[in-house]
C-alpha cells in the first residue's frame, strides 16, 4: 500500500457545551492517494465534525491531522486557509455556491485565489464545467440552477485546483435520487479517471459501491472499518 496522503491519529474533538460532547473520539484513519473513503453512521455520530477536522476548518481537542506531510497543529489559521486553497476541495450538502457569482465564476474562484493566469483559469473552468455537464449553464447564476445542477457546479469548484483530497459532506443529502446518482457518478468518474482522492460522509448507501474503504462511526468513534478491496478490520 502506498504512502498515505491523509492521515489522522487519535483525533478527538470535544465540544464544551453542557457536560461536554465528545463528537469525535480517538479516530485513526489513513487515506491513500486515489482512495474513495465513505464515512457512514447515524445522524449525530460525528461525520461532519470529522470532515471539518480533516479539512482544517476546525481544530481537534487532541490528535493530529497530516495532509501531504503537513501537520495541521503547526499551521496558523491563515496557513490552514492557504493549505485548503491548493490541497482540499469541499462539497457540501447545501451546495453553497456563492450567490453573487455565476456558475463559471464559482468554479474559477479557487483558481483565481491561487493566482492562476486568466487564460488558464478560463480554459480549466470550461474543462471542468464540461466534465460535470454544465458548460451550457456557465453564465447562469446559482438561483437559476436546480439543486442537482448547483451541486455539479460545486463539484467542479471543489476539483478546480486538483486538490489532494475532496471532502464531501452529504453531497447527495439534499438531492432527489436521480440527481444524487449523477453526483455519485461524477465522484466515481473523477476517482477512477483522475485518481482523485475522496472522503465522503453520507447516509447514502449508493456510495458503497464506489468506495474503497467504508468507515462506520457510532457516537464519535469508528466502530468498523470495511476495506472494500478485501479485508475488514474490527
Amino acid at each position: 500500500m502506498s504512502e498515505p496522503i491523509l492521515k489522522c491519529n487519535e483525533l478527538h474533538k470535544r465540544f464544551l457545551v453542557g457536560d461536554g460532547v465528545d463528537a469525535v473520539k480517538d479516530v485513526r484513519l489513513t487515506v491513500a492517494p486515489g482512495e474513495f473513503v465513505l464515512i457512514m453512521g447515524p445522524s449525530g455520530c460525528g461525520k461532519t465534525t470529522l470532515l471539518n477536522l480533516l479539512g482544517g476548518l476546525d481544530r481537534p481537542t487532541r490528535g493530529e491531522v497530516i495532509l501531504k506531510h503537513r501537520k495541521f497543529s503547526r499551521l496558523s489559521e491563515n496557513e490552514l486557509a492557504r493549505m485548503r486553497r491548493t490541497l482540499v476541495g469541499f462539497v457540501f450538502q447545501f451546495f453553497n455556491l456563492l450567490p453573487d457569482l455565476t456558475a463559471a465564476e464559482n468554479v474559477a474562484l479557487p483558481m483565481r485565489m491561487i493566482g492562476l493566469g486568466h487564460e488558464e483559469v478560463a480554459r480549466r473552468t470550461l474543462e471542468l464545467l464540461d466534465e460535470v455537464g454544465m458548460v451550457d449553464r456557465a453564465s447562469h447564476s446559482p438561483y437559476e440552477l436546480s439543486g442537482g445542477e448547483q451541486q455539479r457546479v460545486a463539484v467542479a469548484r471543489a476539483l478546480a485546483n486538483r486538490p489532494a483530497v475532496v471532502l464531501a459532506d452529504e453531497p447527495t443529502g439534499n438531492l432527489d435520487s436521480q440527481s444524487g446518482n449523477r453526483v455519485m457518478e461524477l465522484f466515481s468518474r473523477f476517482n477512477a479517471r483522475h485518481g482523485q482522492t475522496f472522503v465522503v460522509a453520507s447516509h447514502d448507501r449508493g456510495f458503497r459501491e464506489y468506495a474503497t474503504k467504508v468507515v462506520h462511526m457510532l457516537d464519535g468513534a469508528v466502530v468498523r472499518m470495511e476495506d472494500r478491496t478485501g479485508a475488514v478490520t474490527p
Binding site: 461532519t48 465534525t49 471539518n52 479539512g55 476548518l57 476546525d58 489559521e77 491563515n78 486557509a81 492557504r82 493549505m83 485548503r84 486553497r85 491548493t86 482540499v88 469541499f90 457540501f92 450538502q93 447545501f94 453553497n96 456563492l98 450567490p99 453573487d100 457569482l101 465564476e105 474562484l109 479557487p110 483565481r112 485565489m113 491561487i114 469548484r157 459532506d169
Partner: protein, 462 residues
C-alpha cells in the same frame, strides 16, 4: 477585483439595505459639506453677510465705496487705521470695521449734479450719496475731544434700511443727532447726555478733487441727542466677541461705531456754515440700493456701463475683497463641528448596523469562502469593499448635491472660478475622506468579527 465584484453584486442584491447605508452616508456628507461651505468655506464669512442681507435691500457700491488710501496699484487695499472720516464702509461691513478701511489708490468724486440720468433701471430702488464730515466731539463740560464722523442720513431712505429711531421728518435741518447704542472702546456713553458738542473743521475746497478741510479752524455746534441707533453685527462677529451662538442668532448683536448721525438737511446746514457752498455736490461714494440681491450683479453691470470711470462693486464682491484682505475672522465652529460629527457618528452607526446585518446574512457565504481557502484578510477586504463603496458613493452624492447648490450661490455672486474650484476640491477631499474613514471604522469591527468566525459553525446547518 473578484472580491470587489462580489461586494458590488451583493450590494445590488440587497438594494434596500445598501440604499439605507448609502443615504445615511449621503446625509452626513451633505451636512458636512453644508457646514464647510457655510462656516468654513467659501468665501469666508460671506454666508453670514448673505444671510444678514437676505430679503433686505442690497447696496451696489460705486467706486467710492472704497476710499482713498496711501497705497498704490490697482487693487483694493486694506489699510490699518482709525481714520474715522474714511470708515464709511463700516456701515455696511461692520465686521471690517474696527481697525481699518478699504482703499483705492485713484480717487474721483461723483458730481451729484452730473450723474447720468439713466439711473432708471427698474431694479434700482434708491441712489444714496453718502455724506460725511470729519468732526471732533465731546461731552459738554468735558475737555476730552474724540475724532468722529458726522453722517447725514436721508430720513426717507435710511429709515427703511437701518431702522433709525428718533428722527422725524421735521428734524431735517435741526441740530439733532443719534449716537451709537454701543460705545466704541474708550468713548464716553454719549447716549447718557442730552447733548454733544461737535467741532467741525472749516471747508477749504469742495470740488471735483474732493473736499479739503482745515482742521485748525473749527466751529462748534451743540447737537441734541435724540436717541440711539445700532448696527446689527453678524452672528459670527457676535460669537467672535464671546457671545453664545444661539443667542446671537436671535439677536444679531450690535457694533460700536464712532459715527454720529444727523439728518441730511442738518449736515448740509452745518456744511454750509463751515464754508461749504452750494451743499454737497461732490461726494465720495454712491450707494445704490437694488430691489433684489439676486439682480445686484445685473445692476452693477448696468451702472458700470453708465459710469465707465467708476469701479462698481456689488456687496458680495466687496465682502470678498474685504475678507480676503482682513484675513480670517475667528468663527466659532464648535456648534457646527459638533453637529457634523454627530451626523457622521450616526451615519457610522447605521453603517455598522448595515455591516452587521450584511455579515449575518452572508455568514454562510463567508464560511464557504473560508473553506475554499480565503484568508481572514481577504474576507475583511470583501466586506469592507462593500462598505467603502457605499460610503464613497454616498459621500460623493451628498457632497455633490449640497456643494452644487453652494456653487450656484457663489458663482452667482461672482466669485473667481479658481477659488471656487480650489475650495470645492478641498471640501470634497475632506467630506469624502471623512466619509470613507467613518465607513472604514464602522465596517472594521463587523468584518473582522465575520472573518474570525470559523467556517465549521457556518457550514454545519442550513
Amino acid at each position: 477585483m473578484l472580491f470587489l465584484r462580489m461586494a458590488l453584486r451583493n450590494a445590488r442584491r440587497n438594494l434596500s439595505r445598501s440604499l439605507l447605508a448609502l443615504v445615511s452616508m449621503a446625509v452626513a456628507a451633505a451636512i458636512l459639506t453644508g457646514t464647510l461651505s457655510m462656516a468654513d468655506g467659501y468665501p469666508r464669512g460671506a454666508f453670514w453677510e448673505h444671510r444678514r442681507l437676505a430679503g433686505a435691500d442690497v447696496v451696489v457700491y460705486a467706486e467710492r465705496a472704497a476710499l482713498p488710501g496711501p497705497g498704490s496699484g490697482e487693487k483694493l487695499q486694506w489699510e490699518l487705521g482709525m481714520d474715522a472720516h474714511s470708515s464709511d464702509l463700516l456701515q455696511h461691513f461692520p465686521l471690517l470695521g474696527r481697525r481699518g478701511y478699504l482703499a483705492l489708490p485713484q480717487v474721483r468724486t461723483f458730481d451729484l449734479a452730473q450723474l447720468p440720468d439713466g439711473f432708471a433701471h427698474q431694479q434700482i430702488a434708491a441712489v444714496e450719496p453718502f455724506l460725511a464730515m470729519p468732526v471732533f466731539v465731546r461731552v459738554p463740560g468735558s475737555a476730552d475731544v474724540l475724532p468722529a464722523v458726522l453722517r447725514g442720513r436721508d430720513l426717507d431712505v435710511d429709515r427703511a434700511v437701518w431702522q433709525l429711531a428718533g428722527f422725524t421728518p421735521s428734524d431735517d435741518g435741526a441740530l439733532v443727532c443719534l449716537v451709537n447704542r454701543n460705545v466704541p472702546p474708550g468713548w464716553p456713553d454719549f447716549s447718557e447726555h442730552p447733548a454733544l458738542v461737535v467741532e467741525v473743521p472749516r471747508v477749504v475746497v469742495h470740488g471735483p478733487a474732493g473736499t479739503i478741510y482745515d482742521y485748525t479752524q473749527r466751529r462748534q455746534f451743540i447737537l441734541e441727542v435724540r436717541g440711539v441707533y445700532a448696527f446689527p453685527a453678524s452672528v459670527t462677529d457676535a460669537v467672535a466677541q464671546g457671545r453664545d451662538a444661539a443667542e446671537a442668532a436671535e439677536d444679531p448683536g450690535y457694533l460700536p461705531s464712532q459715527q454720529i448721525f444727523v439728518p441730511a438737511g442738518t449736515l448740509e446746514r452745518i456744511f454750509e456754515a463751515v464754508g461749504g457752498t452750494g451743499g454737497f455736490r461732490y461726494v465720495h461714494q454712491l450707494g445704490v440700493r437694488v430691489e433684489s440681491m439676486v439682480r445686484a450683479l445685473e445692476v452693477a453691470t448696468y451702472l458700470q456701463e453708465r459710469l465707465p470711470w467708476a469701479r462698481v462693486f456689488t456687496l458680495p464682491q466687496l465682502v470678498r475683497a474685504a475678507w480676503g484682505q482682513a484675513g480670517q475672522v475667528p468663527v466659532s465652529r464648535d456648534v457646527t463641528r459638533t453637529f457634523t460629527y454627530l451626523a457622521f457618528a450616526l451615519a457610522g452607526m447605521l453603517v455598522t448596523t448595515n455591516m452587521f446585518i450584511l455579515v449575518t446574512q452572508r455568514r454562510r457565504e463567508i464560511g464557504v469562502l473560508k473553506a475554499i481557502g480565503a484568508s481572514s484578510g481577504e474576507i475583511v477586504l470583501m466586506v469592507l469593499a462593500e462598505t467603502m463603496t457605499l460610503a464613497v458613493l454616498g459621500s460623493v452624492l451628498g457632497f455633490a448635491l449640497v456643494r452644487g447648490f453652494y456653487l450656484v450661490v457663489y458663482l452667482a455672486s461672482q466669485v473667481s472660478l479658481a477659488r471656487v474650484g480650489l475650495d470645492t476640491l478641498r471640501v470634497a477631499a475632506y467630506v469624502i475622506g471623512l466619509g470613507s474613514l467613518t465607513a472604514l471604522l464602522a465596517g472594521l469591527v463587523p468584518s473582522v468579527l465575520a472573518a474570525r468566525s470559523t467556517a465549521r459553525e457556518v457550514l454545519r446547518h442550513e
